[in-house]
Amino acid sequence: MISDDTRVQFYKDMVRIRTYEAALQRDYHADKTPQWDIGAGLIPGEMHLAAGQEPVAVGLCANLEQDDAITGPHRPHHLALAKGVDMKAMTAEIFGRVTGLCHGKGGHMHLFDPANHFSCSGIIAQGMPVAVGQAFAFNRKGTDNVAVAVAGEGAANQGAFHEALNLAAMWKLPVIFIIEDNDWAISVARDTATPIKDGSLRAAAYGMPSARIEGNDVEAIYEACKIAVDRARAGGGPTMLEIHTVRLWGHFEGDAQAYRGDELQEATERDPIPAYEKRLRAAGLLDDEAVAAIQAEAQAEVEAAIAFAKESPEPKPSDAYLHVFA
C-alpha cells in the first residue's frame, strides 16, 4: 500500500516536471521569432520534452537513492528532475550558462551529474551498456546500489539493447532496464518498427524477468519498479520493464506532428496528470486549494531556476578548449 503522503508526493513530483517542461517550451519558442530558427534564442538546439512521461520518472525514482545510477536518453528532463539533479544547475546548462551542470558544454541531451549518478546521451540505446558497467562497479565494490538504463521503445530495436540485456543477465548485475513506450520514435509508429505488441517479451531472450505496464499510472509503475529495484539490490539480477506511456507533444519542439493524425487527440486524452489528480481528489487527498498550492510552488521553483539560468553568465569563449583531456 502506497501511503497517502507518497501519493500526494507523486502528484507534486509530476506537476513539478510538467511545469518545468511547459516553462522550457515557452522559453524555447519565446525568442525564435520572426522566422522560427532552431539555433536562435536563449535556448538553442534540439529540445525533446517529456510531457506525458512523468509517471515513469516519478514511479521509478521513488525507488532510487542518490547513489543509484540512471543513464537516460535524449529526452531526459523528467528523469533528471526525479533523480534529484539540481533544477537550477540543469536549467543553466540548458540555457548554455557557465553555472550549468556542465558549464554549458553538454546541453539538454548531455546532462552529467556525478553526485546523483545521472547522465544521458543523444545516441539511441547507447546509455544501456553504460548502466551495465555502473552496475558492475557497484557489484565489485560491494554496495547494494542499482543502475537504471532508460530508453525509448524505438531504442529497443537497436543492437545495443540486445547486448546490454544479455550482459546484465549473464553477469546477474543490479540493472533495471526501463523502456518508455510512447508509441512513437519521431514519426515512426511503434507497430511499424517491430511486429511484437508486448516488448517485455524480449526479456525472455535473456532469461530475465520482465513486465509490460499499461496505463501510464504512477502507482503501478512505482510498484513494478519496486519489485525490480528490490530484486536488483538483493542480488537477484536485472529486470526489464516496458512501460506504456504517452508523448503528449512533438518529438522535438518544432515538430508539426502531421504524421500523428487522430492519434494525437487520443493521446492528449491520456494525459496522466489530470487523471491522477482526479483520483487523488476522489480519495480526498487533493482539493482545489491544494492543487493550486502545488502548482504555484512548482511554478515558483521553475521560474526561479529559469531566472537563475538567465542571470548566469555565459561561458568564456576560450572555455571551449578546456576539458578535452583531464
Binding site: G45, M109, E314, P315, P317, A320
Partner: protein, 340 residues
C-alpha cells in the same frame, strides 16, 4: 549531361534539389528505393526525401526502425542483388553504431570479391553544426569516411551541385557517401546563407564525382574547402574583391580527391588556406597539404593556414560553439596571415 543555368532557371533549396534528384531517378529506374528513419511521411528530418512518400508510397520509400546496422546492411544486400538503394543515416554522428557495415562491407565487398560483386548504393547523411546541437549531433566527419578505401565521399555546397551529384551517385556502380550539411539544405527552420537556395534546372543532369570546382577565381591565395564552409569562403572572397584576389576551390568530394585542381590553383597562387568544419588533425587539411608537399613543397610561399574545427568535441553553448567553428572572420584572418 550537364545543364545550363540562366536567369529563368527556378531557384530551389538544396533539400528540394536532392529529393528531386532521387525522384527523377526513381521514375526511370525501378531498382532505386529509399530507406531510413523518418524518410517516409516525415520526408527526412532535414528534408532530403520531401514529397517522395506521396509519389512512391511505402514499398519504395521505407521508414525503418532505429536499427542502422540492420538497414544499412539490408541496403548492401539489396544492392548486391542488383537494386540501387538510397539509404539515409539520419546524422553522420551516428555512424559509430553501423560503421562496420559501411567500411567493412559496403566499401570492401567489391575489392574482396576481386571485382565480381558490385555495391551500387548511396548512403546519405546530414552533417554539420552551428545551431547548438552539441557534441553528438553536429559533426562533419568526412575524413573518417575518406580515410577508408572503397567508397566515394561527396559533400555539395549548393543546390545545383547537390542535384547533379546525387544523380551521379545513384547511377554510380560504387558505394557513395553523400553528405549534406544541414546549413546548405535551405531549411525554413534554420538560419542559412542565401547560397543554400539557388538555380537548379528541372531536367536531369549530372555533376561528375571527383572534380573540384573553382567556385571563385583568384590569383593571390587558394582557399580549399568543402560543403557549408565553401559558402563562407565565397562570402569572404566577394568581400575581399579588389583587395585580395581569392581563389575558392570547392572540392565537392574528398574521394576521389581532385589533386590536380589543388596543385593547379596553388601553382598559381603560392598561398594556401584550408577551411574545414571537420576536426583538424588527421583529416582533410592534412591531406590537402600533403598533396602539395608530395609534389613540391616550394610551391608554398608562406606557411599554410588551417581554419579547421580544432580537436575538441562540439560544445553546446552558442558562444562556445562559434569559438571553434570556422567562421568568415577566421577565414579572413587566415587569408590576411597567409598574405603576410
Amino acid at each position: 549531361m550537364t545543364a545550363t543555368i540562366d536567369a529563368s532557371t527556378r531557384r530551389v533549396t538544396t533539400a528540394k534539389a536532392i529529393s528531386e534528384a532521387i525522384a527523377q531517378e526513381m521514375r526511370t529506374d525501378p531498382n532505386v528505393f529509399v530507406m531510413g528513419e523518418d524518410v517516409g511521411p516525415y520526408g527526412g528530418i532535414f528534408g532530403s526525401t520531401g514529397g517522395l512518400f506521396d509519389e512512391f508510397g511505402a514499398t519504395r520509400i521505407i521508414d525503418t526502425p532505429i536499427s542502422e546496422t540492420g538497414f544499412i546492411g539490408a541496403g548492401i544486400g539489396a544492392a548486391v542483388e542488383g537494386m540501387r538503394p538510397v539509404v539515409e543515416l539520419m546524422f553522420v554522428d551516428f555512424f559509430g553504431v553501423c560503421f562496420d557495415q559501411i567500411y567493412n562491407h559496403m566499401a570492401k565487398i567489391h575489392y574482396e570479391s576481386g571485382g565480381n560483386v558490385k555495391v551500387p548504393m548511396v548512403l546519405m547523411m546530414a552533417v554539420g553544426g552551428g545551431y547548438s546541437d552539441a557534441a553528438q549531433h553536429s559533426q562533419c566527419l568526412w575524413a573518417s569516411f575518406a580515410h577508408m578505401p572503397g567508397m566515394k565521399v561527396v559533400a555539395p555546397s549548393n543546390p545545383y551541385d547537390a542535384k547533379g551529384l546525387m544523380i551521379s551517385a545513384i547511377r554510380d556502380d560504387n558505394p557513395v557517401i553523400f553528405m549534406f550539411h544541414k546549413g546548405v539544405m535551405g531549411l525554413p527552420w534554420m538560419a542559412k546563407n542565401p547560397r543554400s537556395i539557388g538555380p537548379v534546372p528541372e531536367e536531369e543532369y549530372t555533376v561528375p564525382i571527383g572534380k573540384a570546382a573553382v567556385a571563385h577565381e583568384g590569383s593571390d591565395v587558394t582557399v580549399v574547402s568543402i560543403s557549408m564552409s565553401v559558402q563562407h569562403c565565397l562570402d569572404v572572397a566577394e568581400e575581399l574583391e579588389g583587395d585580395v584576389s581569392v581563389e575558392v576551390l570547392d572540392l565537392r568530394s574528398l574521394v576521389p580527391l581532385d589533386r590536380e585542381a589543388i596543385l593547379a590553383s596553388v601553382a598559381k597562387t603560392g598561398r594556401l588556406v584550408i577551411v574545414d568544419e571537420d576536426y583538424k588533425s588527421f583529416g582533410m587539411s592534412g591531406e590537402v597539404i600533403a598533396t602539395i608537399a608530395d609534389h613540391d613543397p616550394s610551391m608554398l610561399k608562406a606557411p599554410v593556414q588551417r581554419v579547421c574545427y580544432p580537436d575538441v568535441p562540439v560544445p553546446y553553448a552558442r558562444v562556445l560553439e562559434y569559438e571553434v567553428l570556422p567562421t568568415r572572420d577566421k577565414i579572413k584572418a587566415a587569408i590576411a596571415k597567409v598574405m603576410g
